[in-house]
């Protein structure tokens, strides 16, 4: 044979593939962000949500009215220059309630998500990482909580307390909604646990904490973030549903949910669109925006998934 043996000089740098230069050195998070930004709906979602958040923060600048102030002689007035969206059945300014209501709806959504996330991540990672008895215990408990429908459990607990404040409300909701997230996180952890890079981390002597926080959570971040996002939407809807049946954040505190309960009359539906369309739309738009974001995140973190 006359062909020379081709040897790679041992220490010479390797040829690396030609990647389009903007992808080089991008962390997976940056790449996910890029993919996310390419998703039009998701970007629209973010913009919408940012606008809503800004509006809620800027509420005092956007209206002079106190959302809990009843003007007795200004009940159910149609929109005017004084009351942009008219007034409700207690003579409160709808526009102010919409703005301030967004605060509470968002606070409820986000903080419930946050609590749920904390519980879910802690329980899910313990369960998924350690497995065995503790896993069995946590999972049985999860099953048990799941054996009662969210609303039934939430209502039952709410009937036990007398004064429903926002904190309490959020706590109760979080207390009943953690199982799903826990299961998802456990599932990811269970499969990650057997992955070679986790074994690798253990083989270099990394501590459990390090493995969980440095290796497993970042790799489970996709489902965690996506589900956390969708959780916000679910919580906002749940709040409105509970408000509707009179078990939500109590009046006169404005939330979109309890604003919508005003629409429980054909007269309002027919004659006072300005009372129910705005909060209805706000819930719809916010939840849509959040769902768009959630979907965008899902695609960004897991480009293979073909869910839209």
């Amino acid at each position: 044979m006359d062909t020379e043996t081709v040897k790679t000089p041992n220490n010479s740098p390797e040829y690396t593939e030609d990647k389009s230069s903007d992808e080089v050195g991008k962390s997976p998070y940056q790449l996910a962000l890029r993919r996310f930004m390419k998703n039009k709906l998701a970007v629209i979602g973010v913009v919408t949500l940012v606008i809503i958040i800004l509006a809620s923060l800027a509420a005092p600048l956007l209206t002079d009215h106190d959302p809990t102030d009843s003007e007795m002689l200004m009940i159910e007035r149609p929109p005017s220059s004084e009351h942009i969206l008219g007034t409700d059945g207690s003579g409160r300014d709808n526009w102010a309630r919409l703005l301030y209501g967004s605060r509470i709806s968002l606070i409820v959504g986000f903080s419930a998500m946050f609590f749920t996330l904390i519980i879910g991540v802690i329980l899910g990672s313990i369960s998924g990482y350690y497995g065995g008895k503790i896993d069995g215990l946590i999972m049985r408990f999860t099953d048990l909580v799941l054996a009662l429908p969210f609303l039934v459990l939430a209502l039952t607990i709410m009937s036990l307390v007398e004064n429903i404040t926002i904190t309490l409300f959020v706590t109760i909701i979080a207390l009943v909604s953690w199982p799903n997230l826990t299961r998802i996180i456990r599932g990811s952890f269970l499969s990650l646990r057997e992955q070679e890079f986790v074994l690798g981390a253990r083989s270099i002597g990394a501590s459990d904490m390090r493995i969980i926080f440095r290796h497993m959570i970042p790799n489970a971040i996709g489902p965690i973030v996506v589900n956390a996002t969708l959780m916000v939407a679910i919580m906002i809807i749940a709040e409105s549903g509970l408000s509707f049946i009179g078990m939500g954040i109590p009046q006169p505190q404005p939330t979109w949910g309890n604003m919508l309960t005003e629409a429980m009359s054909v007269r309002i539906l027919r004659e006072h669109w300005y009372t129910w369309i705005p909060p209805g739309l706000c819930i719809l738009v916010t939840v849509l925006a959040i769902n768009f974001i959630g979907d965008g995140l899902r695609d960004a973190f897991d480009p293979k998934s073909n869910q839209r």
Binding site: T68, D69, S70, E71, M72, L73, M74, I75, E76, G89, S90, G91, E162, N163, I164, T165, G246, P250, Q251, P252, M264, S265, V266, R267, E271
Partner: protein
């Protein structure tokens, strides 16, 4: 079993102590022709659909039912010995005549003959005795009964109830059609005690009182037996309750063949009226004030608006019970602790001046109500307008508060106590009645306008709320509270709500003068004279309005609406269903 209906229906109110709620089921046998009547002749046949917004709990037994929705059925099926007329005077019903002895300790009633129960049995004096015996019998309360007030003044109640005697001496049958009520002491309003609905002895005989609430004849259509013009014959529970004509009704065969109660959500009732799917909406909620305008615009609907038999108030928590008392359930004024925040009469009056009550009526009630000044139903003979009126006037309020020494001492914009302490009034209110809920922030605002710092408490659901105010009033937190009472039509006696030791005296108003007047008004034999009672009650109302344990806010109007095809409607001051056997529809075939 107090029946505060804490449900979602706006405009629905609490019933007070049992002493005042019986009249609901009474049917005065008024013979006069329906008032606003067309010249058309009544025709027989046809049916009617009425709507109520909450389903009855399901106990269709006059001696055990507890709420207005059940009353809606019982109003058609059961009758009493005596009824009431427009002026709230007692008139004959199942008893066509009666006699009273001199010292008003014995009332003898002569019953209609030939009255039949829905199942064809004849109605006799034994049924009357049986009814009262049941209420008085041991175990009645344990079984959930709450109507003992009708039998307590009767002779031999205590012994019979304690099981010491086998027969109840309070009500006796002289013969088949004569029955006598024996009172332990001279009674001021004996007919009131004879106004309870009668249940059939032949149906319940042998049923232990404890089993009565769950007996088929209490629960099931077709089994519930009364003497009324309609029999309860069918139901789809929680949806439809069907009343069918009692052909042998003693006052003549009713025109209508059938009346169906349908349960509809408040939110759609008005539009169902408009498109004719329902024919009438009446007690307990009627048409919401907010919908009045809309409903009155419907061509096919007629409206009857009348003052409600009750009132809404804002009470001052003048005293608190001690914790020990709360735990043992005792009400002992000697132990009460005064609430310094509202102890000053002048302050209470100033607050009354500060609240814009006409504004409330105009705004929240859409004008469909009236300001009320005394704690007796306006329809009663005992009601008087001749009391301090507290017309809305901020200047007066400010002046009075200044005079009382409640000035802003620390410059924070709020008035302080005369001794310089912070002065914050906690205002509690329940959920359930939308208008009342909405009035809370309005009142807060009114008071803040005169410099009073009001803290709106978290509203609570009705049961929890009344528990707070009544049974755990030792928490010493609440200063002001909102509540509404719908009153019984039988007697104006306010003792159930305002006598010092009444549990429902939520203000813990401790004014011996008031108790003095209240008992004076019931004192035999002077009180046999209604004039006298009117006078005493006038005095009491004045005392009330001056000492002011509560600011009476408004009385909401009941708005009854019905399809114009329905004729013969003639509501009483406290109820829509009056002589339904005379109702008829113009389009019956």
């Amino acid at each position: 079993a107090c029946n505060e209906e804490g449900g979602s229906d706006p405009g629905d109110e609490e019933e007070p102590a049992e002493t005042e709620d019986p009249a609901e089921e009474e049917e005065p046998a008024e013979e006069e022709e329906p008032a606003e009547e067309t010249s058309d002749e009544p025709v027989e046949g046809g049916e009617l659909i009425g709507a109520m917004d909450t389903a009855p709990a399901g106990v269709f037994n006059p001696i055990f039912y507890s709420e207005a929705y059940e009353a809606n059925i019982l109003d058609f099926t059961h009758e009493s010995l005596v009824g009431q007329n427009d002026n709230l005077e007692f008139i004959p019903e199942l008893a066509h005549d009666w006699e009273l002895n001199e010292d008003q300790t014995e009332l003898t009633l002569y019953l209609e003959e030939g009255v039949t129960w829905h199942d064809g049995e004849e109605f006799t004096a034994e049924d009357v005795v049986f009814t009262y015996e049941s209420i008085a019998s041991p175990g009645y309360v344990e079984a959930g009964g709450i109507r003992t007030a009708f039998v307590t003044p009767l002779e031999g109640y205590a012994e019979f109830n304690a099981g010491e005697t086998d027969t109840f001496a309070g009500v006796t049958a002289e013969d088949e059609y004569t029955v006598t009520f024996h009172f332990a002491e001279p009674n001021v309003n004996p007919l009131y005690y004879a106004s309870y609905s009668i249940i059939p002895q032949h149906v319940f005989e042998g049923v232990a009182i404890g089993d009565m609430p769950t007996h088929a004849a209490t629960l099931e259509p077709g089994e519930v037996i009364g003497t009324g013009p309609f029999a309860f014959t069918d139901m789809v529970e929680r949806e439809q309750y069907v009343l069918t004509r009692h052909d042998d009704y003693w006052q003549g065969k009713p025109y209508l063949e059938r009346i169906t109660w349908q349960i509809n959500d408040q939110s759609v009732i008005s539009s169902l009226l408009e498109n004719g799917e329902i024919d009438f909406v009446a007690d307990p909620s009627g048409v919401p004030a907010a919908d009045y305008e809309m409903v009155s615009g419907y061509d096919n609907v007629e409206i009857i608006e009348q003052t409600d038999f009750g009132y809404q108030l804002m009470g001052f928590k003048m005293n608190y019970r001690t914790t020990e008392d709360v735990e043992s359930g005792t009400i002992n004024p000697n132990n009460w602790v005064e609430n310094p925040n509202v102890a000053d009469q002048q302050v209470r009056q100033a607050i009354a001046y500060a609240i814009d009550r006409p504004g409330l009526v105009e705004g929240l009630l859409y004008g469909r109500g009236s300001v009320i000044n005394a704690p007796i139903a306006q329809q009663f003979w005992a009601y008087t307008e001749d009391v301090p009126q507290y017309e809305h006037n901020q200047d007066t309020a400010n002046q009075m508060l200044d005079d009382a020494g409640y000035v802003d001492a620390d410059g924070d914009g709020w008035r302080d106590m005369p001794n310089g302490d912070e002065w914050v009034l906690d205002l509690a209110f329940p959920t359930g009645n939308q208008i009342r809920e909405r009035s809370a922030p309005v009142i807060e605002e009114n008071l803040e306008e005169v410099g009073i710092n009001v803290n709106l408490m978290q509203p609570k659901e009705m049961t929890a709320y009344t528990e707070d105010i009544m049974t755990s009033d030792d928490e010493q937190e609440i200063d002001l509270y909102l509540i509404g009472w719908s009153l019984g039509s039988g007697d104006p006696d306010p003792s159930g709500l305002w006598s010092i030791e009444a549990a429902y005296n939520m203000s813990r108003w401790n004014n011996p003068e008031s108790d003095e007047l209240i008992s004076q008004a019931l004192q035999a034999p002077e009180a046999f004279d209604q004039e006298y009672r009117t006078e005493v009650y006038g005095e009491w109302q004045n005392l009330f309005a001056t000492d002011l344990p509560a600011v009476l806010l408004y009385a909401q109007n009941k708005i009854y609406a019905f399809n114009e095809r329905l004729n013969g409607v003639d509501p009483l001051p406290y109820a829509f269903a009056n002589n339904p056997h005379l109702w008829w529809v113009s389009d019956a075939q």
